[in-house]
Symmetry: C2
Subunit: 170 residues, 2 copies
DNA sequence: CGAAATACGTCAGCCTTGTTGACATGACTG
DNA sequence: CAGTCATGTCAACAAGGCTGACGTATTTCG
Protein backbone atom coordinates (compact mmCIF):
# COMPACT_ATOMS: atom_id res chain seq x y z
CA UNK A 1 0.00 0.00 0.00
CA UNK A 2 2.03 2.90 1.33
CA UNK A 3 0.00 5.50 -0.46
CA UNK A 4 -0.96 8.18 1.99
CA UNK A 5 2.57 9.17 2.69
CA UNK A 6 2.86 10.56 -0.79
CA UNK A 7 -0.73 11.59 -1.35
CA UNK A 8 -1.58 15.26 -1.03
CA UNK A 9 -4.13 17.03 1.10
CA UNK A 10 -7.19 15.30 2.46
CA UNK A 11 -8.51 16.07 5.88
CA UNK A 12 -6.23 13.96 8.00
CA UNK A 13 -3.54 11.72 6.74
CA UNK A 14 -2.49 9.98 9.88
CA UNK A 15 -5.77 8.43 10.78
CA UNK A 16 -5.85 6.45 7.56
CA UNK A 17 -2.88 4.23 8.19
CA UNK A 18 -3.10 0.62 7.10
CA UNK A 19 -3.09 -0.29 10.74
CA UNK A 20 -6.15 1.83 11.47
CA UNK A 21 -7.90 0.36 8.46
CA UNK A 22 -7.07 -3.17 9.53
CA UNK A 23 -8.57 -2.49 12.94
CA UNK A 24 -11.74 -1.33 11.25
CA UNK A 25 -11.82 -4.47 9.12
CA UNK A 26 -11.39 -6.75 12.10
CA UNK A 27 -13.96 -4.80 14.08
CA UNK A 28 -16.47 -5.39 11.28
CA UNK A 29 -15.68 -9.09 11.29
CA UNK A 30 -16.16 -9.62 15.00
CA UNK A 31 -19.06 -7.21 15.34
CA UNK A 32 -21.01 -8.94 12.60
CA UNK A 33 -20.65 -12.18 14.49
CA UNK A 34 -22.20 -10.53 17.52
CA UNK A 35 -24.81 -8.91 15.36
CA UNK A 36 -26.13 -12.26 14.13
CA UNK A 37 -25.50 -14.32 17.24
CA UNK A 38 -28.80 -13.76 19.07
CA UNK A 39 -31.16 -14.39 16.16
CA UNK A 40 -29.08 -17.40 15.14
CA UNK A 41 -29.65 -18.97 18.53
CA UNK A 42 -33.40 -18.51 18.29
CA UNK A 43 -33.54 -19.73 14.71
CA UNK A 44 -31.49 -22.81 15.46
CA UNK A 45 -34.13 -23.98 17.93
CA UNK A 46 -36.80 -23.76 15.27
CA UNK A 47 -34.70 -25.31 12.53
CA UNK A 48 -34.50 -22.15 10.49
CA UNK A 49 -31.43 -20.32 9.27
CA UNK A 50 -30.28 -16.83 8.52
CA UNK A 51 -31.94 -16.95 5.13
CA UNK A 52 -35.33 -17.35 6.79
CA UNK A 53 -34.54 -14.45 9.09
CA UNK A 54 -33.71 -12.17 6.19
CA UNK A 55 -36.89 -13.07 4.35
CA UNK A 56 -39.01 -12.57 7.46
CA UNK A 57 -37.33 -9.29 8.23
CA UNK A 58 -37.97 -7.73 4.87
CA UNK A 59 -41.49 -9.08 4.54
CA UNK A 60 -42.24 -7.53 7.88
CA UNK A 61 -40.51 -4.39 6.73
CA UNK A 62 -42.48 -4.08 3.50
CA UNK A 63 -45.74 -5.94 3.94
CA UNK A 64 -47.30 -6.98 0.65
CA UNK A 65 -43.97 -6.93 -1.17
CA UNK A 66 -43.67 -9.14 -4.24
CA UNK A 67 -41.28 -12.01 -4.77
CA UNK A 68 -39.32 -10.10 -7.38
CA UNK A 69 -38.92 -7.15 -5.08
CA UNK A 70 -37.67 -9.36 -2.28
CA UNK A 71 -35.28 -10.99 -4.73
CA UNK A 72 -33.63 -7.71 -5.58
CA UNK A 73 -33.38 -6.67 -1.95
CA UNK A 74 -31.84 -9.93 -0.83
CA UNK A 75 -29.62 -10.36 -3.85
CA UNK A 76 -30.11 -14.10 -4.28
CA UNK A 77 -31.59 -16.27 -7.01
CA UNK A 78 -35.29 -16.98 -7.13
CA UNK A 79 -34.64 -20.69 -6.67
CA UNK A 80 -32.77 -19.99 -3.49
CA UNK A 81 -35.38 -17.61 -2.15
CA UNK A 82 -38.20 -19.88 -3.21
CA UNK A 83 -36.86 -22.75 -1.17
CA UNK A 84 -36.92 -20.60 1.94
CA UNK A 85 -40.25 -19.02 1.12
CA UNK A 86 -41.84 -22.41 0.47
CA UNK A 87 -40.99 -23.65 3.94
CA UNK A 88 -42.15 -20.42 5.57
CA UNK A 89 -45.48 -20.62 3.74
CA UNK A 90 -45.86 -24.34 4.47
CA UNK A 91 -45.18 -23.65 8.14
CA UNK A 92 -47.79 -20.92 8.16
CA UNK A 93 -45.46 -18.04 8.93
CA UNK A 94 -45.91 -16.23 5.63
CA UNK A 95 -48.96 -15.82 3.42
CA UNK A 96 -48.81 -15.40 -0.33
CA UNK A 97 -51.77 -13.78 -2.05
CA UNK A 98 -52.37 -13.23 -5.74
CA UNK A 99 -52.00 -9.61 -6.76
CA UNK A 100 -55.18 -7.63 -7.39
CA UNK A 101 -53.79 -5.23 -9.95
CA UNK A 102 -51.39 -7.71 -11.55
CA UNK A 103 -52.49 -11.27 -10.96
CA UNK A 104 -49.04 -12.64 -11.79
CA UNK A 105 -47.61 -11.14 -8.66
CA UNK A 106 -47.74 -12.69 -5.22
CA UNK A 107 -47.97 -10.37 -2.28
CA UNK A 108 -46.20 -11.58 0.82
CA UNK A 109 -47.36 -10.96 4.38
CA UNK A 110 -46.47 -12.34 7.77
CA UNK A 111 -49.18 -14.37 9.46
CA UNK A 112 -49.70 -13.79 13.18
CA UNK A 113 -47.30 -16.67 13.84
CA UNK A 114 -44.77 -15.18 11.45
CA UNK A 115 -45.12 -11.79 13.09
CA UNK A 116 -44.54 -13.41 16.47
CA UNK A 117 -41.30 -14.99 15.29
CA UNK A 118 -40.22 -11.75 13.65
CA UNK A 119 -40.89 -9.98 16.89
CA UNK A 120 -38.80 -12.35 18.94
CA UNK A 121 -35.94 -12.19 16.44
CA UNK A 122 -35.89 -8.46 16.13
CA UNK A 123 -36.33 -7.98 19.85
CA UNK A 124 -33.15 -9.91 20.41
CA UNK A 125 -31.27 -8.03 17.74
CA UNK A 126 -32.61 -4.65 18.82
CA UNK A 127 -31.69 -5.37 22.38
CA UNK A 128 -28.08 -5.86 21.43
CA UNK A 129 -28.14 -2.80 19.20
CA UNK A 130 -29.74 -0.77 21.94
CA UNK A 131 -27.08 -1.81 24.42
CA UNK A 132 -24.33 -0.96 21.94
CA UNK A 133 -25.92 2.40 21.16
CA UNK A 134 -26.32 3.21 24.83
CA UNK A 135 -22.74 2.28 25.57
CA UNK A 136 -21.37 4.32 22.70
CA UNK A 137 -23.62 7.38 22.86
CA UNK A 138 -25.46 9.43 20.24
CA UNK A 139 -22.42 10.99 18.60
CA UNK A 140 -20.79 7.61 18.08
CA UNK A 141 -24.03 6.26 16.64
CA UNK A 142 -24.15 9.02 14.06
CA UNK A 143 -20.59 8.22 13.03
CA UNK A 144 -21.35 4.52 12.94
CA UNK A 145 -24.20 5.06 10.50
CA UNK A 146 -22.14 7.42 8.36
CA UNK A 147 -19.31 4.97 7.93
CA UNK A 148 -21.62 2.06 7.24
CA UNK A 149 -23.46 3.98 4.57
CA UNK A 150 -20.21 5.00 2.96
CA UNK A 151 -19.19 1.37 2.87
CA UNK A 152 -22.11 0.24 0.73
CA UNK A 153 -22.07 -0.16 -3.02
CA UNK A 154 -23.93 2.61 -4.81
CA UNK A 155 -26.94 0.55 -5.82
CA UNK A 156 -27.09 -1.03 -2.39
CA UNK A 157 -27.04 2.39 -0.80
CA UNK A 158 -29.95 3.49 -2.98
CA UNK A 159 -32.01 0.51 -1.86
CA UNK A 160 -31.04 1.14 1.71
CA UNK A 161 -31.91 4.82 1.59
CA UNK A 162 -35.25 4.18 -0.03
CA UNK A 163 -36.04 1.57 2.58
CA UNK A 164 -34.80 3.41 5.61
CA UNK A 165 -36.72 6.55 4.83
CA UNK A 166 -40.08 4.90 5.06
CA UNK A 167 -41.39 4.19 8.54
CA UNK A 168 -42.22 0.61 9.26
CA UNK A 169 -45.82 1.00 10.28
CA UNK A 170 -45.68 -1.55 13.06
CA UNK B 1 -40.37 -4.74 23.69
CA UNK B 2 -42.04 -1.36 23.35
CA UNK B 3 -40.06 0.24 26.08
CA UNK B 4 -38.84 3.68 25.12
CA UNK B 5 -41.98 4.59 23.26
CA UNK B 6 -44.19 5.05 26.29
CA UNK B 7 -42.45 8.10 27.70
CA UNK B 8 -41.29 10.42 24.93
CA UNK B 9 -39.16 12.40 27.27
CA UNK B 10 -35.80 13.86 26.36
CA UNK B 11 -33.77 13.82 23.19
CA UNK B 12 -31.45 11.21 24.61
CA UNK B 13 -34.29 8.74 24.75
CA UNK B 14 -35.58 9.46 21.30
CA UNK B 15 -32.47 8.35 19.57
CA UNK B 16 -33.10 4.85 20.83
CA UNK B 17 -36.46 4.36 19.18
CA UNK B 18 -37.14 1.02 17.56
CA UNK B 19 -37.05 2.84 14.26
CA UNK B 20 -33.54 4.15 14.84
CA UNK B 21 -32.42 0.72 15.93
CA UNK B 22 -33.94 -0.85 12.84
CA UNK B 23 -32.03 1.56 10.66
CA UNK B 24 -28.83 0.53 12.37
CA UNK B 25 -29.68 -3.13 11.84
CA UNK B 26 -30.35 -2.65 8.16
CA UNK B 27 -27.25 -0.53 7.77
CA UNK B 28 -25.20 -3.40 9.20
CA UNK B 29 -26.81 -5.82 6.78
CA UNK B 30 -26.13 -3.82 3.65
CA UNK B 31 -22.74 -2.55 4.76
CA UNK B 32 -21.50 -6.06 5.43
CA UNK B 33 -22.41 -6.99 1.90
CA UNK B 34 -20.27 -4.13 0.65
CA UNK B 35 -17.55 -5.05 3.08
CA UNK B 36 -17.16 -8.54 1.63
CA UNK B 37 -17.94 -7.74 -2.01
CA UNK B 38 -14.44 -6.89 -3.26
CA UNK B 39 -12.57 -9.83 -1.75
CA UNK B 40 -15.39 -12.14 -2.83
CA UNK B 41 -14.84 -11.12 -6.44
CA UNK B 42 -11.13 -11.83 -6.27
CA UNK B 43 -11.64 -15.12 -4.47
CA UNK B 44 -14.27 -16.31 -6.92
CA UNK B 45 -11.74 -16.11 -9.77
CA UNK B 46 -9.38 -18.37 -7.86
CA UNK B 47 -12.06 -20.79 -6.71
CA UNK B 48 -11.70 -19.86 -3.10
CA UNK B 49 -14.36 -18.65 -0.70
CA UNK B 50 -14.72 -16.45 2.30
CA UNK B 51 -13.51 -19.23 4.55
CA UNK B 52 -10.15 -19.18 2.78
CA UNK B 53 -10.01 -15.43 3.12
CA UNK B 54 -10.56 -15.57 6.87
CA UNK B 55 -7.87 -18.19 7.32
CA UNK B 56 -5.39 -16.26 5.19
CA UNK B 57 -6.18 -13.03 6.97
CA UNK B 58 -5.53 -14.35 10.44
CA UNK B 59 -2.48 -16.38 9.47
CA UNK B 60 -1.06 -13.21 8.00
CA UNK B 61 -2.12 -11.39 11.12
CA UNK B 62 -0.45 -13.81 13.52
CA UNK B 63 2.30 -15.61 11.66
CA UNK B 64 3.21 -18.92 13.22
CA UNK B 65 -0.14 -19.32 14.89
CA UNK B 66 -1.25 -22.84 15.71
CA UNK B 67 -4.26 -24.65 14.32
CA UNK B 68 -5.99 -24.59 17.69
CA UNK B 69 -5.46 -20.87 18.02
CA UNK B 70 -6.91 -20.25 14.61
CA UNK B 71 -9.84 -22.45 15.50
CA UNK B 72 -10.77 -20.34 18.47
CA UNK B 73 -10.38 -17.09 16.55
CA UNK B 74 -12.52 -18.24 13.67
CA UNK B 75 -15.08 -20.04 15.80
CA UNK B 76 -15.50 -23.07 13.55
CA UNK B 77 -14.82 -26.78 13.98
CA UNK B 78 -11.46 -28.28 13.21
CA UNK B 79 -12.98 -30.41 10.46
CA UNK B 80 -14.31 -27.31 8.79
CA UNK B 81 -11.06 -25.40 9.14
CA UNK B 82 -9.02 -28.39 8.11
CA UNK B 83 -10.82 -28.66 4.79
CA UNK B 84 -9.87 -25.08 3.98
CA UNK B 85 -6.36 -25.37 5.37
CA UNK B 86 -5.72 -28.54 3.42
CA UNK B 87 -6.42 -26.87 0.11
CA UNK B 88 -4.39 -23.81 1.02
CA UNK B 89 -1.41 -25.98 1.95
CA UNK B 90 -1.83 -28.17 -1.12
CA UNK B 91 -1.94 -25.06 -3.31
CA UNK B 92 1.22 -23.76 -1.69
CA UNK B 93 -0.29 -20.66 -0.12
CA UNK B 94 0.24 -21.72 3.48
CA UNK B 95 3.06 -23.65 5.12
CA UNK B 96 2.64 -25.86 8.15
CA UNK B 97 5.69 -26.60 10.24
CA UNK B 98 6.07 -28.82 13.28
CA UNK B 99 6.45 -26.87 16.50
CA UNK B 100 9.89 -26.64 18.03
CA UNK B 101 8.85 -26.35 21.65
CA UNK B 102 5.83 -28.64 21.33
CA UNK B 103 6.10 -31.01 18.42
CA UNK B 104 2.38 -31.71 18.42
CA UNK B 105 1.65 -28.21 17.26
CA UNK B 106 1.76 -27.02 13.67
CA UNK B 107 2.79 -23.45 13.04
CA UNK B 108 1.12 -21.78 10.10
CA UNK B 109 2.73 -19.22 7.84
CA UNK B 110 1.89 -17.69 4.49
CA UNK B 111 4.21 -18.62 1.65
CA UNK B 112 5.23 -15.83 -0.73
CA UNK B 113 2.30 -16.82 -2.96
CA UNK B 114 -0.05 -16.78 0.02
CA UNK B 115 1.24 -13.39 1.06
CA UNK B 116 0.63 -12.12 -2.46
CA UNK B 117 -2.98 -13.23 -2.38
CA UNK B 118 -3.42 -11.81 1.09
CA UNK B 119 -2.05 -8.54 -0.18
CA UNK B 120 -4.43 -8.33 -3.09
CA UNK B 121 -7.40 -9.23 -0.89
CA UNK B 122 -6.61 -6.78 1.85
CA UNK B 123 -5.72 -4.06 -0.61
CA UNK B 124 -9.21 -4.30 -2.04
CA UNK B 125 -10.85 -4.32 1.35
CA UNK B 126 -8.68 -1.55 2.71
CA UNK B 127 -9.40 0.56 -0.32
CA UNK B 128 -13.09 0.42 0.38
CA UNK B 129 -12.56 1.05 4.05
CA UNK B 130 -10.30 3.97 3.25
CA UNK B 131 -12.90 5.51 0.97
CA UNK B 132 -15.59 5.09 3.61
CA UNK B 133 -13.35 6.55 6.30
CA UNK B 134 -12.47 9.50 4.10
CA UNK B 135 -16.08 10.17 3.26
CA UNK B 136 -17.18 10.00 6.88
CA UNK B 137 -14.29 11.73 8.61
CA UNK B 138 -12.27 10.98 11.75
CA UNK B 139 -15.00 11.70 14.28
CA UNK B 140 -17.39 9.34 12.52
CA UNK B 141 -14.71 6.67 12.39
CA UNK B 142 -14.18 6.85 16.12
CA UNK B 143 -17.90 6.42 16.66
CA UNK B 144 -18.02 3.58 14.19
CA UNK B 145 -15.38 1.64 16.08
CA UNK B 146 -17.01 2.37 19.42
CA UNK B 147 -20.37 1.00 18.37
CA UNK B 148 -18.85 -2.06 16.70
CA UNK B 149 -16.87 -2.92 19.80
CA UNK B 150 -19.94 -2.52 21.96
CA UNK B 151 -21.77 -4.91 19.67
CA UNK B 152 -19.39 -7.83 20.22
CA UNK B 153 -19.86 -10.61 22.72
CA UNK B 154 -17.63 -10.26 25.74
CA UNK B 155 -15.26 -13.08 24.87
CA UNK B 156 -15.14 -11.96 21.25
CA UNK B 157 -14.27 -8.46 22.37
CA UNK B 158 -11.43 -9.81 24.46
CA UNK B 159 -9.99 -11.64 21.47
CA UNK B 160 -10.44 -8.58 19.33
CA UNK B 161 -8.78 -6.27 21.83
CA UNK B 162 -5.83 -8.58 22.30
CA UNK B 163 -5.41 -8.87 18.56
CA UNK B 164 -5.93 -5.26 17.65
CA UNK B 165 -3.42 -3.98 20.15
CA UNK B 166 -0.51 -5.77 18.61
CA UNK B 167 0.86 -4.27 15.42
CA UNK B 168 0.94 -6.54 12.44
CA UNK B 169 4.57 -6.11 11.57
CA UNK B 170 3.96 -5.69 7.86
C1' DC C 1 7.25 -45.64 33.73
C1' DG C 2 2.60 -45.72 32.27
C1' DA C 3 -1.85 -43.48 31.80
C1' DA C 4 -4.23 -39.57 30.50
C1' DA C 5 -4.62 -35.44 28.11
C1' DT C 6 -3.55 -32.61 24.07
C1' DA C 7 -2.90 -31.26 19.08
C1' DC C 8 -3.84 -32.57 14.88
C1' DG C 9 -5.66 -35.00 10.80
C1' DT C 10 -9.20 -37.48 8.52
C1' DC C 11 -13.30 -40.37 7.13
C1' DA C 12 -18.22 -40.39 6.68
C1' DG C 13 -22.48 -38.28 6.61
C1' DC C 14 -25.71 -34.58 7.19
C1' DC C 15 -27.69 -29.71 6.63
C1' DT C 16 -28.37 -24.99 4.83
C1' DT C 17 -27.93 -21.95 1.40
C1' DG C 18 -26.05 -20.47 -2.52
C1' DT C 19 -25.49 -21.46 -7.79
C1' DT C 20 -27.08 -22.87 -13.16
C1' DG C 21 -30.08 -24.55 -16.41
C1' DA C 22 -34.46 -25.92 -18.06
C1' DC C 23 -39.21 -25.80 -18.25
C1' DA C 24 -44.34 -24.79 -17.20
C1' DT C 25 -48.09 -21.74 -16.20
C1' DG C 26 -50.73 -17.88 -16.02
C1' DA C 27 -51.20 -13.02 -16.95
C1' DC C 28 -50.31 -8.75 -18.94
C1' DT C 29 -49.14 -5.91 -23.18
C1' DG C 30 -48.34 -4.22 -27.65
C1' DC D 1 -52.12 -13.37 -31.16
C1' DA D 2 -47.26 -13.19 -30.01
C1' DG D 3 -44.13 -11.87 -26.79
C1' DT D 4 -42.72 -10.73 -22.38
C1' DC D 5 -43.06 -10.97 -17.45
C1' DA D 6 -43.71 -12.97 -12.62
C1' DT D 7 -43.67 -16.94 -10.45
C1' DG D 8 -42.91 -21.76 -9.16
C1' DT D 9 -40.46 -25.94 -9.55
C1' DC D 10 -37.29 -29.88 -10.82
C1' DA D 11 -32.60 -31.47 -10.99
C1' DA D 12 -27.89 -31.23 -10.07
C1' DC D 13 -24.05 -29.29 -7.92
C1' DA D 14 -20.71 -26.72 -4.62
C1' DA D 15 -19.19 -24.33 -0.50
C1' DG D 16 -18.87 -24.49 4.04
C1' DG D 17 -20.98 -25.22 8.30
C1' DC D 18 -21.98 -29.32 11.69
C1' DT D 19 -21.54 -34.04 14.59
C1' DG D 20 -19.42 -38.31 15.63
C1' DA D 21 -15.77 -41.49 15.54
C1' DC D 22 -10.99 -42.87 15.07
C1' DG D 23 -5.97 -42.86 14.69
C1' DT D 24 -1.45 -41.04 15.77
C1' DA D 25 2.07 -38.36 17.80
C1' DT D 26 3.51 -36.10 21.72
C1' DT D 27 3.44 -34.10 26.10
C1' DT D 28 2.21 -34.05 30.88
C1' DC D 29 1.20 -35.80 35.15
C1' DG D 30 0.40 -39.13 38.82
Amino acid sequence: MASDTTAPAGRSLLFLTDDQLRKGIEAMFFAYRGFTADPDRILAEKNYGRAHHRAIHFIHRSPGTTVNNLLSILGVTKQSLNRVLRTLIADGLVSSTVGARDRRERHLHLTPEGAALERSLSDAQRERMRAAYRAAGPAAVAGFREVLEAMMDDDMRRQYQAMVDQPDGR
